[in-house]
């Protein structure tokens, strides 16, 4: 797709542009190198052995019981926390430290078994008294 057409579509107000040939070119790289990265990410995208990657939106309800990364208890649910996307900074923070504060609108990127991910979600939304 030439630049002029991209500009026209952007000007027309689209949010995403899909150009099939560009996507195929990117996927071709998968067969040319970075085998490990591609295979690992492919495994996550296709729920290899039930393991998937999900994004969890931090809501006000979650914040009533969980204030920081250290309070997520993700390990208890056998969940790997890859990072957190902070809404106010529009930036992804890989491997955040335990003291990182959670805010409404943030997203956690978590990896785990689908069943455990569901339980983790339920756990986050349960109101737990801190007293």
């Amino acid at each position: 797709m030439n630049k002029a057409n991209r500009n026209k579509l952007n000007f027309a107000g689209v949010n995403e542009i899909f150009y099939e040939k560009e996507l195929v070119g990117m996927i071709a790289k998968e067969f040319a190198g970075k085998y490990v990265a591609f295979e690992a990410i492919h495994a996550l995208r296709t729920s290899y052995k039930g393991i998937e990657i999900q994004e969890v939106l931090i809501t006000e309800r979650i914040l009533e019981s969980v204030a920081s990364v250290g309070e997520l208890a993700n390990k208890k649910y056998r969940i790997v926390l890859l990072g957190i996307h902070k809404k106010n900074k529009n930036h992804f923070f890989f491997n955040p430290i335990d003291s990182t504060l959670l805010e409404a609108g943030d997203h956690l990127l978590v990896i785990g078994n689908g069943v455990f991910l569901k339980e983790f979600n339920i756990h986050l939304h349960q109101k737990v008294s801190k007293w």
């Binding site: 070119g25 990117m26 071709a28 790289k29 067969f31 495994a43 890989f94 785990g112």
Partner: protein, 225 residues
């Protein structure tokens, strides 16, 4: 990787995109035009003598990307028939062609329609995941995924993978443990959890370049791409 030369058969819009993406992965990327003149031309009745003289085909990846699917299948059959060990990646525009290219002997099939559909679904369902994984794979991000073999397990003597504070102590996140047969287990799976860390274990890790390098120095290993 073993392959050092990329041979792209077909000259169209796909050619430009594929060449752009793979050029950093190979020593050379050569384009071959169907039914044209010159050294880098071919026709479907080719006996490929010229190709075998110019390249060590065990170190080549052939991309068959003719837009006419019947011609692309024929090209794949012809290359596979002549070169048993050649790594062939072939473009398919529908499910039927995918199956035919598999039968024709393609090592991997690039499904154009399915690829587009998958990307659209990913972006709609998991926009942040898609964006971050895309950055790790395709952009010059400092965040990388690597496969690391433990050469010196003494630093983890007597510990299970889940006992170790990978993220706090080493700045990396372990996702998978890879077994000798190449199969992967999630770090928190029962199998991975109950095996002590030992030399020869392979971990798939995510981390910043520098943290991965530091970890490699600690365990005396090098990561693979």
């Amino acid at each position: 990787m073993v392959e050092t030369h990329a041979l792209i058969f077909g000259y169209n819009d796909y050619t430009q995109e594929i060449e752009k993406n793979i050029s950093s992965e190979f020593k050379t990327v050569d384009l071959f035009k169907l039914n044209s003149e010159g050294e880098n031309s071919f026709d479907l009745s080719d006996d490929w003598d010229d190709l075998s003289q110019r390249y060590d085909l065990k170190k080549c990846v052939a991309f068959c990307i003719l837009e006419d699917m019947a011609e692309n299948i024929f090209l794949t059959i012809s290359l596979r028939d002549t070169f048993k060990d050649l790594h062939i990646v072939a473009l398919a525009q529908d499910k039927e062609t995918m199956d035919k290219l598999d039968l024709a002997g393609a090592t991997r099939v690039l499904p154009s329609t399915q690829t587009t559909a998958n990307v659209i679904v990913d972006i709609l369902e998991k926009p942040l995941v898609t964006e971050i994984l895309h950055d790790i794979l395709y952009e010059e991000s400092d965040l990388k995924i690597a496969q690391i073999t433990i050469e010196d397990h003494s630093v983890f003597d007597g510990k299970y993978p889940t006992d170790i504070e990978w993220s706090r102590d080493h700045g990396i996140v372990i996702i998978f443990v890879v077994h000798e047969d190449g199969s992967r287990e999630f770090i928190y799976s029962s199998k991975a959890k109950h095996n002590l860390v030992k030399s020869g274990d392979i971990f798939v890790v995510v981390g910043f370049k520098e943290d991965i390098k530091s970890f490699e120095r600690l365990i005396g290993a090098k990561h693979e791409k």
